[in-house]
Each structure stands twice: as structure tokens, then as C-alpha cells.
């Protein structure tokens, strides 16, 4: 297993003789974390701005227009500064250590999951051969943060929200995992970079989506389950603002609240990346194919094109999530449960069965 990241490899090349290995490893880790956190934060800021613009335009409004000049591009920056400057409030009856720990835990879990994401074919933070497995494990840890926040807040709104989250995640982890088995059966690897590389082919369109007729329904199931996993509308019951104020985030404000917000958008990005890699070809597109053919695999042009391709696919996934959010009304909790247990799970199993038979025959 090649577990080292690209920064360690680079450092080992440029570092002078005699520097202990642990110093290099630590530096590489710190650099990697800084780059990951910075990258994701900027991306989340962009996604928040995009969400506000998309929601605005769907409702025939403009959305933010002033901050920063062009179409309010700096709105998220301004919001971030405001959130950082806000008073740090902890309710009197709250369980202080848990209350403080919950947002940090969620953020740590989601960044841990994002660490398995490759930025381009040879730029990655950790090259795990069980990458998808790690992502699933880490991203479901955010639920613990939600339940912790709800419990520690000492508020009934928060408690209801977190209980709903727990019920919802238990229901949707199953179809989420099962629907991901379908592309796994087709490409046969958990590693995200490897999965993307195996989809390279005729003009970069050798995507899993077109390999097997059962992948498309599996993708729809995956997408629905991912919406529920990331607590996005129409499954945003944990923070249903019209019934529960803000659900598990009711008692939070300022920087801690912004952690929850960051986690939500980072999770959206993560789910979109997983969907893009395991269903929609990952780094592969006609453009990437062209770059590889004319500049060679591993050249800067190829790496950049591949990275941008994945980013665009992920952005499209995020956009779809936003589009759905501003289209569908929130479903009731019993409807959420019905959908998870009675519809998504059996249908996902059916897809796995069909895809397995198809793979065995063809």
C-alpha cells in the first residue's frame, strides 16, 4: 500500500542529507493539511456563494450583488469575517466540553474523509487502496458530531434534530453503501485514483455509467442517499428550520456554527467527488484524453486538465444538489424512513443483483 502523500515524495527529493525522516513526514503532513483545509475552505466559500445565487435566480431574485463588486463574489468572505468576529456563546445549561467538541469532531471527520480524495492523477494527500471505504467510514462519523451537538445543547429543538439525524443516517447508510457496490463491481477497486484510471478509454468516455445498465439506477439511488447523508433538502430534517428553528445547530452561533456550515458544504463536495469518480469517469473526459494523448500522462497539462475535470464534475454535482434543494419541499420524517427502508434499500439490492448477473454474463 502506497500510503505516503505527494508532498512527502517531493520533500524527500529536495531535502538535504541528514534530516530525520520524522521531520520530513511531519512537514509533509502539515503542508498537506494546510493545502487541504485551504482548498476546501475556498471551495466551500464558492459553493455558498453559488447556492445563494442559484436559490436567488430560481426564485427570480438576484441574490447577493454588492459585496466585492461583480455579482457579490465576496459575500462569503464578508460572511466569514462576520462569523469570526461574533461573540462565542455557550448556553448556560449546555454540556460545555461536548458542546465545544461537536463541531470540531464533524470538521475533523469530513476533512479526514476528504484526505482520501486525489486532486489529480498524481497529486493526492493519501493514496489509500481502500479509499472509498475510508471515505464512507469517516463521513458517517459526522453523525456522532450531530448527535453530540444536539445532546450537549440542552435544548429540545437540538435534541429532536439530532435524533432525526441519527435515525436518518442509520436508514440511509445502507442504500448508500449498497448502491456504491454497483460501480465497485464494474471497476473492481476502492482506490479513487485507480478507479478513475480504469475508466480511461475511447475518447475518455469509458465511464462506469455506460458500462452496465444497472449503474444509472444505482447512481440515482446513490445521489438520493447522498442527499440524505449530507442533510440537504428535501432530507434536511435534522435542521428543518420551519419546525425545529435550526435543529441541532439551534444553540450554536459564530465560529462554531460556521464549522457546521463548512462541514455541510464539504460533505456535499465529498459526495459529489465520490459520485464523479465512481460513476462519471473521475478525471476522464474528452479533454483529459486529449491532454494525455498530446502531452503524455503525468505532464503538467494532463494533471491540470484532469484536476479541473474532476472539480467541474464535482461542481456540477453540487449544483444538482442545490437545484433539487430549491425544487422539492421537505419530506416528513415518516416519509424519509419509508423511502430509506422500503424503497432505496430493496432497489439498491436489486441493482446489485442485476449488475452482478450482468457482469457475470458479459
Amino acid at each position: 500500500m502506497d500510503g505516503g502523500n505527494i508532498f512527502l515524495t517531493l520533500l524527500q527529493k529536495v531535502a538535504p542529507e541528514g534530516v530525520p525522516a520524522w521531520v520530513l513526514a511531519l512537514t509533509a503532513a502539515v503542508v498537506g493539511i494546510a493545502i487541504l483545509v485551504g482548498f476546501v475552505s475556498v471551495l466551500v466559500m464558492f459553493a455558498v456563494w453559488l447556492e445563494r445565487k442559484v436559490s436567488g435566480h430560481i426564485q427570480c431574485r438576484y441574490g447577493p450583488m454588492y459585496a466585492g463588486g461583480w455579482h457579490g463574489w465576496a459575500q462569503s468572505v464578508a460572511d466569514g469575517v462576520k462569523l469570526l468576529a461574533k461573540e462565542d456563546l455557550i448556553p448556560l445549561g449546555a454540556d460545555k466540553p461536548l458542546f465545544v467538541l461537536a463541531p470540531a469532531l464533524m470538521l475533523a471527520a469530513i476533512f479526514g474523509a476528504l484526505a482520501a480524495m486525489p486532486l489529480s492523477p498524481s497529486v493526492y494527500f493519501t493514496n489509500l487502496n481502500l479509499g472509498l471505504f475510508a471515505i464512507l467510514a469517516m463521513s458517517s462519523m459526522t453523525t456522532i458530531g450531530v448527535v453530540m451537538a444536539g445532546w450537549a445543547s440542552n435544548s429540545k429543538w437540538a435534541l429532536y434534530g439530532s435524533m432525526r439525524e441519527a435515525a436518518q443516517v442509520v436508514a440511509y447508510e445502507i442504500p448508500f453503501g449498497i448502491s456504491l457496490l454497483v460501480p465497485l463491481m464494474v471497476i473492481g477497486t476502492f482506490n479513487l485514483g485507480e478507479a478513475s484510471a480504469r475508466q480511461a478509454g475511447w475518447f475518455g468516455m469509458h465511464w462506469v455509467m455506460f458500462q452496465n445498465p444497472f449503474v444509472l439506477p444505482a447512481f440515482l439511488l446513490f445521489f438520493t442517499a447522498a442527499l440524505a447523508e449530507t442533510k440537504r433538502a428535501p432530507f434536511d430534517l435534522p435542521e428543518s428550520e420551519s419546525e425545529l428553528v435550526a435543529g441541532f445547530m439551534t444553540e450554536y452561533s459564530g465560529i462554531r456554527w460556521s464549522f457546521f456550515f463548512l462541514e455541510e458544504y464539504a460533505a456535499m463536495f465529498l459526495m459529489s467527488v465520490v459520485g464523479a469518480v465512481f460513476f462519471l469517469g473521475g478525471f476522464e473526459s474528452p479533454l483529459t484524453h486529449f491532454a494525455r494523448e498530446s502531452f503524455g500522462a503525468g505532464s503538467v497539462v494532463h494533471e491540470v486538465t484532469a484536476g479541473v475535470t474532476l472539480l467541474l464534475k464535482a461542481m456540477f454535482g453540487i449544483f444538482l444538489m442545490m437545484w433539487l434543494r430549491w425544487t422539492l419541499p421537505r419530506v416528513r420524517i415518516d416519509q424519509v424512513m419509508t423511502m430509506g427502508y422500503k424503497y432505496l434499500t430493496p432497489l439498491a439490492l436489486l441493482c446489485v443483483l442485476g449488475a452482478g448477473i450482468w457482469e457475470a454474463i458479459f
Binding site: 442559484v54 435566480h57 437545484w323 433539487l324
Partner: protein, 184 residues
């Protein structure tokens, strides 16, 4: 069998209705927004809209007709007369009281007070809601010129009279001048 049919119909319905909804929201997403960027851009205001008043101060003759017409006495005006000319001190309208009934507009003999189109006048303090409608204090430039001209004319007249008096050798004409000033 029927239950299976319902099951798959439910699946199909949820999928197809979602797509229908997305088609509708997608259409709105691409269409031009119907809102305007308010402080920069404004929607057209009807002609007879009753907003904040504006006063054509040059026309106003300080007759108090509007103040008398006001059912809640929110108009107050003060001006000093210099012969025909007016020296304005204040013309205030208290928007804490004003109900925008437009009754002050009709009695005006010079048609100089109007209802405007401005409707936004948020203030930090209640006292700021008492607007002064005057565009200038004191006398108008034209009025000042007219007054100077009148004075100059009068002086000329006096000088002419004095000259005439001196020529006719009748210095007794002098005491009459104060009367002439009063009638000017």
C-alpha cells in the same frame, strides 16, 4: 401483484414528478429576475402616488392655506415680509403626524406644494422626521435682486425729486419722502 404495481408506480412517480419540478425551477433559473436592485434601480411609481411633499418655494406666498387645510396640523411655516418679497425662516412638515391625505395640495392658490414620489425616509431619530421643505433659507436671489432694483429706483426717484426740488427752489419737499417709501 397490485402491491408490486403500486410500489413501482410510486418509484416512477417520485422520479418523474421530481424531474417536472426541476424543469420548472430550471426555467426560472434561466429567466431574468423580476426584482430590481432597489436603491440603485427603482420600479416606476404611479403618477398620483402620495409620497414626501415637495415645495416650489419660489412660487409660495406664505398664505398658510395648506397649513389651515391640514387635518392634523403638521405643516408649520414662518416667513418675514419685506414689502412684496419674502424672507423664509422655515416650512416644516412633521412626518410623524402626516397621513399623506393630499388635502394640503388642493387649497394652494399658487399650486406650489405637491406630493412627491419619494417614500423611503428612514431616520435614526424621531426628531429627524420633521422635514424642512425649504430649498433655501432667507430670501431668494431673484427677490434680493428685485428688492435692490426697487431700492435703486426709489433712490433715483428721490434723487430726481430732490433735484427737481432744488431746481424749483423748494427745499420743503424733503419731509414728504418717508411717505413715498411707505407706499413703495
Amino acid at each position: 401483484m397490485n402491491a408490486t404495481k403500486t410500489y413501482f408506480k410510486n418509484v416512477w412517480d417520485s422520479l418523474s414528478t421530481t424531474l417536472v419540478g426541476m424543469k420548472i425551477t430550471g426555467k426560472y433559473l434561466l429567466q431574468k429576475p423580476i426584482t430590481v436592485q432597489y436603491p440603485d434601480e427603482r420600479l416606476p411609481i404611479p403618477e398620483r402616488y402620495r409620497g414626501i411633499h415637495y415645495l416650489e418655494q419660489e412660487k409660495c406666498i406664505d398664505c398658510l392655506a395648506c397649513a389651515r387645510a391640514c387635518p392634523i396640523d403638521c405643516i408649520e411655516m414662518d416667513a418675514v415680509r419685506h414689502g412684496k418679497e419674502l424672507e423664509w425662516i422655515s416650512f416644516t412638515l412633521d412626518y410623524q403626524k402626516c397621513m399623506f391625505c393630499e388635502l394640503c395640495v388642493y387649497p394652494c392658490p399658487k399650486d406650489c406644494i405637491h406630493m412627491g414620489t419619494e417614500f423611503a425616509f428612514v431616520t435614526y431619530d424621531r426628531s429627524e422626521l420633521k422635514h424642512d421643505l425649504l430649498s433655501f433659507k432667507g430670501m431668494a436671489k431673484e427677490a434680493r435682486i428685485r428688492m435692490k432694483e426697487a431700492e435703486a429706483k426709489k433712490k433715483e426717484k428721490e434723487a430726481a425729486k430732490a433735484a427737481a426740488g432744488a431746481a424749483s427752489g423748494a427745499p420743503a419737499a424733503d419731509p414728504k419722502t418717508p411717505d413715498a417709501e411707505g407706499s413703495a
